[in-house]
Each structure stands twice: as C-alpha cells, then as structure tokens.
Amino acid sequence: MPEQKQITFTINDQKVTTAAGTLVIEAAMHQGIEVPSFCYYPGLALQAACRMCLVEVEKAPKLQTACTLVAVEGMVVKTDTAQVHKARKDMIEFLLSNHPLDCPVCDKGGECELQDMTFRYGLDHSRFTEEKLHYPEEQWSPLVFYDAPRCILCFRCVRICDEGMDVKALGVGARGVHSVILPNEKGALACEECGMCIDICPVGALTSGTYRYQTRPWEMTYVPEPCTHCSNGCKTTLSVRNNEILRANNRDHSGINGEFLCGKGRFGFDFTHNPERVRQPLIRRNGKLEPASWEDALEEVSRRFKQVRDMHGPAAIGVIGSNHTTNEENYLLNRFARATLGTNNIDHHRTADYTGLAAALGPRAKDSLATMADVYASNATLVVANDVTQQNPLVAWQIRTAIRHHKARLYVINGRPSKIHRKASYLAEVPRGTEREVVRWLSTGQGDFDENIRTALSALKAGIEKESDVVIIFGADISGSALRDLVSFGSKLPGHTRFMTLGDYANSRGAADMGILPDRLPGYAPLADAAERARFSKLWGSEISSAPGITAREMMEAAAAGKLKALYVVGANPLKTFEVKQPDRLAGLELLVVQDMFLTETAQRADVVLPAASTYEKDGTLTNTAGEVQMTHRSIDPQGPRSDFDLIRILSHQLSMLGVGSPIRLRTPEAAFDEIRQNVHGYDLPVAGLLAGGAELSTATCQTVEPSYETPAGVVFSSNDFLFSSGTLGRYCSKLKSTNEAKDTPWSSSPNIQSWWYR
C-alpha cells in the first residue's frame, strides 16, 4: 500500500497527527476522547442521523457531525464545550421523548447504549408531558423480536443486514416519528437468521428469541469460546447463569470474526441442555442399553478392549475420532490408539484434504496458509467448489467485507449455486462434479468444456493472473491430485499466494493436525518415517507399529466383514456419515464403544456408551480450518458427562493396570498442550496470546514436499451442512431448527427455496 499522507489537526487543544481522510470521530477515539454516537458504526455506511456526535469546529457557523467530518490540516475541533454538551443533552431529551421507560424489564437494561448515554450526557429530568407513541411488539421469527417503541432508528440493523450480510431483509417503514423497521416478509423475516441485527442494536428494540426476558445481564458470567459448529472458528461469548447457557453473542468483537457471528454461533448452544443428552454411562445388557455407573462402564470397556486385543491382536481394533473434540483430546486419542491399544487403525471423517495440502505445500506451508484476516486483507480471493455463504459463513463475511471496504475482487469457480456469486468479479458456474477437471485445466490447460464455460473460465483465468497476493480457498471436492493442481496453479500467480481448504467442523483441521489418520502421526509426520515413529514411540512409552492402518470407511467395511472386532468411536457417527444403510453390518464387531453427547445412530448400536462433554463444557484448544488455534473453556458443568480427555486418560490407566500400554500421565489439557507444542510440527505457539483470548496460526506441515502423496479416493468428503445444520450436533439445536429457513436446504432445485436463499 502506498504511504498515506499524514495531517495534523487539533482536538481539545491536543495536536493529533493522523492519516489524511480520517474521520474526526475516529481520530478523537484514538486520542481517548469519546464522541458519543448511536448511528456511527465503524465500517458501515455513514448516516449522520443521530446527531449525538456534534462538535464545534473553529470557523464553522454550526456544530458539525464528527462522524462525517474528515479531519484536515489545521482544523480545530472542540468536543468539550458548553455548546456541545448542551447539544448532546438536547438530543438525548428528544430521543427519550417517545422512548418507553421500560428499562426494568428490557433485555438491554444494564448494557444499553441509550441508558449509558443518558447517564453520561442526558438531563436529570424529563420535560416531555405528552402522550408517548406506542406500537405492539412484533415477533419476526422464532429468534428475532422487534419492539418498535424502543427503536431509536439508528439504522444499524438495516445496514448490517444489507451491507454486511448482503441479505437485505430489513427496511424502514412509514416516515417521520412513525418510522419503524420492517422485516421483509409481511411482518416476518426470511433471512439467514444470523442475529447480527440483535447484536448491533444499541437498545432493546431487537431482542433474541433464545434470551428475551430470561435474566438480567449482570446476573450472568461471560465465557468467550470458539464456536463449536463449523470450521471457521468464530468467537462467541457464552452468557451463563446457574450452570445454564442463556445466550451466545458477539458484542466484544475480539475474535478473529470481528463483529461477525452467524446463527449457529449465536443460537446453536441449546444442545447442551437438550433433554436427549446422554448423562449417564450405558451398558448393553440383554440387548438393551441400560444405565450404569462410571466404574462399571469404564471397567467393562477396558476389560473388553483387552479381551479383543488378546484374542485377535491390536490390528482388530479400530478407532474413529472426532471433528469436534479438542486438539488435546485428539492427541490423546492418537496416543491411546497407537501406544496403548497398539493399532494404527485410526481415522476420522475427513471433510477437507488437510493432509494433501500439507503434502503439496511441504515446508512452504509455514507462510502459505491463509488466515481469516488474510482473506479480508487480500486484493483478491479465488473460491473453488464451495458455497461459502452457507458452509463457511465467516469466510464469506471476510470476502464480502474485503469487497466492501477496499474493493477486493472475488473469483469463483463453483458447481452449485451460492449467494456469494453475485459479489464475484468473475464467476464460472460449472457442472457439479467437474470442479476437479476445471482445476486441472487451470493448472495444465488440459480438458474440454462447453463453449460458454470455457469462455467464463478463460476470462476468470486471465483476470486472476493479473492479480497478486491472491488467497485461494477451496472445498472438499478439491482433494488429492486436484489439490496439487490448484496449488501448482496458485504458486505461479504473481506475488505471494496463500491457501485455505474448507473443512466442515469446529476441529476438523485439529483432528488431522493431531494425526487422527491411519498413515500420519501428529503434525503430518509420516507413519512410514522410522525416525518420526521412533520419536513418538519414545515420547509415548510404547513401540508404534509400522503396519499402516486402515481408513474409517475401510474400518466400517472390515467391521461388516468381521475382520475388525472392536471399534472405539469418539464424538463421531460413522453409521450416518459413511451411509452404512444396514446397522447389522456392524454385527461382526465384538465390542463397539461410543463416546458421545447423544444417542446417535452409531451410539444406539453400541455395547457401551460413555457420555461426553461438549466443547462448551471443557478446556482445551481448537484449530479452525485456516490453522488458527484458540482456547476453549469450560463455561458450564456438564452434569454427568465427562470430557473425552478425562475418559481417554482414565481408560489408559485402566488398561495399563490390565497390562496393556502405559498410563497417560498428562493430567490436564494444559499439560497435553505443552506436549503438543513441544512435539507437533507447526504447533510451537506462544501461549500468552491464546490465554488472552486470541488466536495463533499453527502450521502443521509436512517436513518435505511429498509430490507422490495421494489422498485415497473417497476419503475426503463434506457433509454439506448449511447455515441451519451442523452434523449430529445440529439436530439437537432446537432453537435453530425451529426457524422456517432450517426446513429448506439451499441447494435443492425446488424453485420456492431458490426464491429466498439467493435473492
């Protein structure tokens, strides 16, 4: 970026030097001088509507709005004069004239900007003695309510919905003092239900269906967490009272998501209290799962693992890990599988080809992985084979915001519709399933397409080849050789190209990084590499077998064929994921242990079910799809279930007492994370930032480029969750599922659905 011209001006007798073009309100804020405002909101269109930010400017006949006033050389601004104070007082008086004084029951009471402003700048009495306007409250969706009398018409909600979300579900009705905010569908909302309008509302006009009238803000404690749903890693702040999460929102904007949060992050927390939650261990007795004590359940599991291991050997045992459990738990599970049970049959549902990307980039990964911030900062992004709006909402937000704030360009190659398409400078809509061929064409020029597709692709290619410092983002379909093609194409682009592959779930990348893979140890260390094997064998106190393991899908097939005798499923639902239609195909198993929050299809078939805690109920770290690591915290007590960390650790102790493996002595996730930092390539991260609630970019990577590495076909695939689904977990998010929009899937061909998803 070219060096920006600096100017110097004066605020309240202080000299301020700032970039030319800076608004006075911003410059004042950086100087620690508050200029109050309601309608000004950084990054959104300027309004100058609330008139709270009026300031005195030397030589100007009238007070000026600091939110639209660009500071210029020599300007003299005063924010602390009697005239300015009076203007603020008068604005508050006007605002309160029709504002109901229902603060005692208003959700916003205690965290309301109007209350704060009144307290600080307002009159101590009211001169308004006329009748106040009143309108009844409206319910716009199960999640969004609107109380018109409280609305101060700052138009933040309208702007965030239009400019920020590109949804434009909100408008303004009537005019003058009767103005109200209107939803798009005859008194109701048809939208993405992101709830951004609720967060951004400075008063209690827009309230949340999950939270309204439940409590007072000061009665709660606040726990910032990475969201447990998709792979983007947004921070959501859980508001907790009496061991119950009452609200999730994003008012502090401190996460990698800035001001963004989607509906899953905001409303998808009620699974924790879903009545179907398994809260007690279950053991199958006489064909029925019956409640059991923890002692009995853990004893049963360890005894029977030993039995199978003794009878059939360790290779008869398989372990399927999770896309949701923490890095520490995944690391422990890996150790448990390879060092305690002695099997390399460990895998998970891979929703993006992280291994392939690590192999294709090799050591270059250290500076070639794109963060969420990189997406925003980039000049151009290329999105291949993903509906980012639906599947990766933060990525989509970053792309849209980059376009909005600094005219970044978007290039899209996609085989399915996506709302983001209308933001694209170049769009190539290709038949679904041909994305890999298109990528091959990009890289090698080989391939044949219809005339119009070829034209679109050629234009797109010519366009992007003129860009520099591009971020390339791609979905699960781009795996294996297609991924190598894309990396090869991207590497030839001018400047520094960065890559991001898009997985489905909160710790999809963490599972791969921690080596929940049959052929990889943590940090993508090849199992075949004797030195790496030796390193982990030494660390874990048992010899790791060199015999390669089998993939999750192969495990399901082996179970059906009777070759696999025991399966330990942690936080996964392979019967559903791998579409095993007849559950009896698991009949060949002698032992199925499932560790989960709910009685999933797989758990219903288990011999023992160990109830597990959710990520909102435990400590640890999660790695988002970009590789950014964040800490998760125990916000509530799970009341019955235990963390996967504890369960794996306890099982290792139990088995060691039976003579199998050595006990895991890492007592806490912190200790495990220390071991990860010291031993997993790319995870040697500074902890201070993480402890402070920030994110650190990990670069788990192959030590050499492995051009011959081929991700097995069919191993990587997406569950195609959308804004209202989230794998198994999503089924238990009642509030999210109660919306009309949750009933539609965005990629259906039926026209009524198209009507609102893409308009």
Partner: protein, 605 residues
C-alpha cells in the same frame, strides 16, 4: 400477475426512461395505483420482479410516500387542504363541511365506497385557496355551497370541471409588474410548441447552441445574477461552474426541481402548465453549458395534470428537434423526461429528490459531496428550481446584463410571487427583484380585505421567520429580507390579518413539518412531533406557562442541528412567532383561544 395491456406498456415505457431501472419504481407504483385504486401484494411483487429488486425495497419505498396506499380509497378521493394559505381562507371550515356532507371523517371511506376523505398538506393551490383535489382534479376558491354543487355532480356520476390553470395566475397585469418569465401566461394554448415558437420560443436555444460556447453560457448566467428560485438563492451560474468538465466517462445530469411543496408556494405550477417549453428550453441550455446530455423534471405527484402537460410538451419538442439527437443541427444531444413524485415535501430538498428519483425513500444525502460533483446516480448533476431554469432562456436571449439590470445588485431579474392569505387579489405576480414587500401586498395584491390590519407576513413559504405588519416595508431581494431577519424563500408570500390566531398558525405549521419529517435524524423526527403535540395541547387550552419557553427552546434545539434544512424550516417560523407574538401565547393560558370560538377549535382537532 397479469397486467392490463395499457399498464404493461406504461411499465415498459417507464423502465426504459432511466439508466437505472429502480428509478421507475415510484412512477410504476403510482400509475398502477391509478388503475386499481391501491397497491395489492400481488402488484408489489410484480413491480419488484420487473424492477429487479427485493420486495422489502419496494415496500419500504412505498411506505415513505403519502400518496401511495395499500388499501382502496373511495372512487372519489376528496383531499382537502388545510395548510396555511387554505386555512386562512376557510380551509378548516370547508373540511368540517365536507365531513358533515359526506358523513365520514378524516381518512375514512363512505360505506358504498364512493367517497373517501383526507385532510392533506399544501397542494400548491395557495392563490386559489381554499382548494381541494378530487383524485387528481383541482377545485379552487371554494366555499360550502360551491363544494355542495361539486358533490351533487359527482353523485350524478358527472365529473365536475376542474381548474385548468391555477387561480390567480392569469389576471390583469399590475403596472408595477415586469413580465419576463410569465409573459406567455394567458395566451391561449401557450403550452403548445407552435404558440411558444410564435413568442420567441427556442430562440435562446438556437443562440446558445450555435453561437455560444458552454463557458460563455455559464458566464452569461453568472452575469445575470440569477439566483436560485427554490428558496436558498444560490447563484445559478456559480452552481453550474462547479460541475467538473472531466468526469472520466461519467454522464452528467440536469434536474428541474418541480416538487413545489412549501406551504404558500404555487408559482412553479403555472410555469409548467402554461409555459412548459420555456422550462425545456432552459434545461437544454443548462445541459449544453455543463455538458449534460440527459435531464429530468421532477414534479410533485399531486400535479398529475401538470405532468401530463409537461410530457406532451416534451414529446412536441422531440418531434421538432429541440430534444433528442443533434438539436437544431448543433451536434448537441439532450434527452429529457418528466418524473412524478408521490407525496413527500422532503423530496424538494435536492439530495432527497435525487434519492427519490433513484426510486428510494426520500432521505437527504450527506454533503459534501455536493450534487455538482456527486449527484444523480453518483454523477455530476445540476439541480435547479423550475423557475430558475425557466429564467434561463430570457437571460441568454436578452443577455445577462439586461437581466441583472432588472433587479438589484447581486439579485438579478424578476421573480414570481404567489401572494395568498388575507389579500383582496391573491395571485401570482412577476415583480423585479427588490420590489417593496408592503407595496406588493397593498397595491399589487389589493391589500387586506375589509381594511383590516396586517398582523404578520410569511415572506416566502412557511419555513421563513414571520415578519410583523411593521416589518414589511423592505425590498424583496435575498439580502434585504435576510437583513430584516427572515428569508425571501420560495416567493410564497402569505398575509395574515389582525384576527389571525398566531398560536393556531404556529400549530398548523408544526403539523405540516411533523407530517413531512422524513424521520432520518433525531432532532427533527422527535422535535417536530413533540412540538406538534405541545402546540395542539396549548392551543386547546391545556397550556402551562412553562410551555412558552419550552416551545421556544425545543425549536432552538432543532435549529442548526438537523441533518437537512427541514428541522430549521420547522424551527424558524416557530421561534419568530413565540418571540413576536408571545402575548398571544399568554392570552391562551387563560383558557380558550381568543380568536376563535371554542367549538371550531374542538372540531378542527
């Protein structure tokens, strides 16, 4: 939705008028409403589809404009103006009479669906007050018996003859008048191009396009001291010179502001209905001067018949080669279209007008940038009042110096004054800038009926501070009126006799501004509404001594702090009334309004 072929064709035509489809939205809604009486959900969806926008964008736009409705009105929608000029001449009493006659109240529909009634804000018939509109038809100078005749005709299924030209525009010329832009008023068929051509028509255009460079045109207008006739009085030539020559390929636009809605103002209406070609000619010249090749005449929606006249004139001008490609062989191209508003005073504010012309809610824009740089569709735009642009042909034809010489220093030429209220000859008079106000009222407009004294004068539209009868011996130019503590404004002069209740007058003005506040900024939205409630209560006899300073202070709290001048417009007259007629407020504290019987007040409410 299946549309009648005529509407379908109208939609297609409207969508083709603008470089951006959304601009057709408001006209499409209004023309659809004309056919069906209201806008159904199906119709709105159809319009959204054709314009290519979301339904919410259609509904929120509709919600802004007071003429657009989602429920049917009666077959005859009776709109009674009770704004200041009409109020002074019996508008309230007329409204009560109509209510009794029809047996329905404000915003009600008669049981058989024949009539509906609405009290409306100024309809631009101030010199024909009191006036009503029946659908789009104007009926002026009414009294209860005249209106009864009208209803009898309607009940018999006949269409009463509306006025064809605003009352008070055609009259015997007063010797003091200097007739420049109104010189064709009263000539039969003066709106037709043939008649226009017989009376110097399009000669200025020939001169400007063939003999002058664009810079020479701008210089001539600068020399003329022609100042904006909309009310602010900004020098027109200077405004034009702000338009950048190089735009990097962006087109430029000329807009005529014909939204005339300032209560007391009705002088653009006769200019458009009797001399539309003069306006067209002025716009083409303006286009040439700044390098714009497209123009729009934004006309308030209530003036439908005027729009029809202007559209017919535009068609004539195209046919004769005064619009379109290669105008009079000069190589200059200029396209022009009329655009209807749909009921919103705020759209007379230039940036709100452009929002409205883009098919949006009429919210004003943040300035800078000013329209000359970033205007319609983000392109450089000259926006002038209809009267300003209508003055341009005379300036070009007879020279800037000649024009300047008609007025006073820095205030060139003549202007139209619509004198209404308590005068013997309400009318539209063309007088040189700097003409004495007292003389205009007493001589030109015939003085106050029954020899009563002048209590107050609204110099140029309801937003100006009022002058007392003792303050009007002043020259009517922008600077002199400013020196007297008011504004020359829009040329809508309203005269109030000694029996007028100033509290009631302040109340009525505030009703107007509260009704027209767009709602964008807090002080105007809340301030006008609060003051309306307060003044209602006060005038009804519920006032408290503390209310008098409060009215003054709340007005001052709006003044200079609102997003656009509407807040000032509401504040300024109010402040002047409290200051100059404080005694009348104090009289009201004793109980009833001393100027009107109590029953009238109660019923007007």
């Amino acid at each position: 939705m299946q549309l009648p072929p005529s509407l379908d064709a109208k939609f297609t035509e409207l969508l083709g008028r603008y470089p951006v489809k959304r601009s057709a939205l408001i006209p499409m809604m209004l023309y659809a409403q004309d056919q069906f009486g209201f806008l159904s959900d199906d119709m709105l969806e159809e319009i959204a589809k054709r314009v290519g926008i979301n339904l919410i964008e259609v509904t929120e736009t509709l919600a802004y404009y007071s003429m657009l409705r989602r429920k049917p009105e009666g077959r005859y929608h009776i709109q009674v103006c009770t704004n200041i000029s009409c109020m002074l001449r019996g508008g309230n009493e007329l409204f009560q009479h109509v209510q009794k006659r029809l047996g329905i109240g404000n915003k009600e529909v008669s049981p058989n669906g024949t009539f509906s009634l609405e009290e409306v804000e100024c309809i631009g018939a101030c010199t024909g007050a009191p006036a009503i509109q029946i659908n789009y038809d104007y009926h002026e100078n009414l009294d209860p018996s005249k209106i009864d005749t009208i209803f009898e005709q309607l009940e018999q299924g006949k269409r009463p003859k509306p006025v064809s030209v605003i009352s008070g525009a055609i009259h015997e010329r007063h010797p003091a008048e200097v007739v420049v832009i109104s010189r064709r008023f009263g000539i039969p068929n003066s709106n037709k191009i043939d008649v226009y051509l017989q009376h110097d028509g399009y000669q200025a255009l020939e001169k400007a396009l063939k003999q002058m460079t664009p810079d020479q045109i701008v210089d001539e207008v600068k020399k003329s001291n022609l100042r904006g006739r909309g009310g602010a009085g900004f020098p027109a030539g200077m405004k034009w010179s702000f338009v950048p020559k190089e735009t990097g390929g962006k087109p430029k636009y000329i807009i005529a502001n014909g939204d005339e809605s300032e209560p007391g103002t009705s002088k653009d209406r006769p200019l458009m209905e009797m001399d539309p070609h003069q306006l067209i000619e002025g716009m083409v010249i303006a286009g040439r001067a700044v390098g714009a090749e497209r123009g729009y005449i934004y006309i308030r929606g209530e003036y439908r018949y005027v729009i029809d006249i202007v559209e017919a004139a535009i068609a004539e001008a195209y046919a004769k080669g005064y619009l379109g490609k290669d105008i009079v062989g000069s190589g200059f191209n200029f396209d022009l279209a009329a655009h209807t508003g749909a009921g919103a005073y705020e759209c007379g504010e230039e940036s709100a007008l452009m929002e409205s012309l883009e098919g949006k809610r009429g919210y004003p824009r943040i300035r800078p940038p000013f329209p000359a740089v970033v205007g319609l569709y983000g392109c450089p735009t000259v926006i002038n009042n209809v009267e300003t642009l209508s003055s341009v042909p005379a300036v070009i034809l007879r020279g800037g110096e000649w024009y300047a010489g008609l007025g006073t220093p820095k205030n060139g030429g003549t202007r139209l004054y619509a004198v209404s209220g308590h005068v013997n000859r309400p009318g539209i008079y063309e007088l040189p800038m700097g003409f004495n106000m007292k003389r205009m009222i007493e001589e030109v407009a015939g003085g106050v009926p029954s020899g009563k004294k002048i209590k107050a004068v609204v110099p140029g539209g309801s937003s100006c501070p009022l002058l007392t009868g003792d303050e009007i011996d002043i020259a009517m130019d922008f600077d002199s009126v400013a020196k007297a503590g008011s504004m020359l404004g829009s040329g809508g002069t309203v005269v109030l006799d000694e029996d007028t209740c100033m509290v009631d007058f302040a109340r009525r003005i505030m009703h107007f501004y509260a009704h027209e506040s767009c709602g964008w900024c807090i002080p105007c939205r809340e301030g006008t509404a609060w003051l309306r409630q307060l003044l209602d209560r006060f005038h009804d006899g519920g006032g408290r001594a503390s209310d008098i300073p409060l009215i003054d202070e709340l007005s001052k709290n709006m003044l200079g702090r609102t997003f656009c001048p509407l807040g000032d417009a509401a504040a300024m007259p109010t402040i002047s009334i409290v200051k100059k007629w404080r005694n009348e407020f104090e009289e009201h504290l004793r109980g009833d309004c001393p100027y009107k019987p109590a029953d009238v007040i109660a019923e007007v409410r």
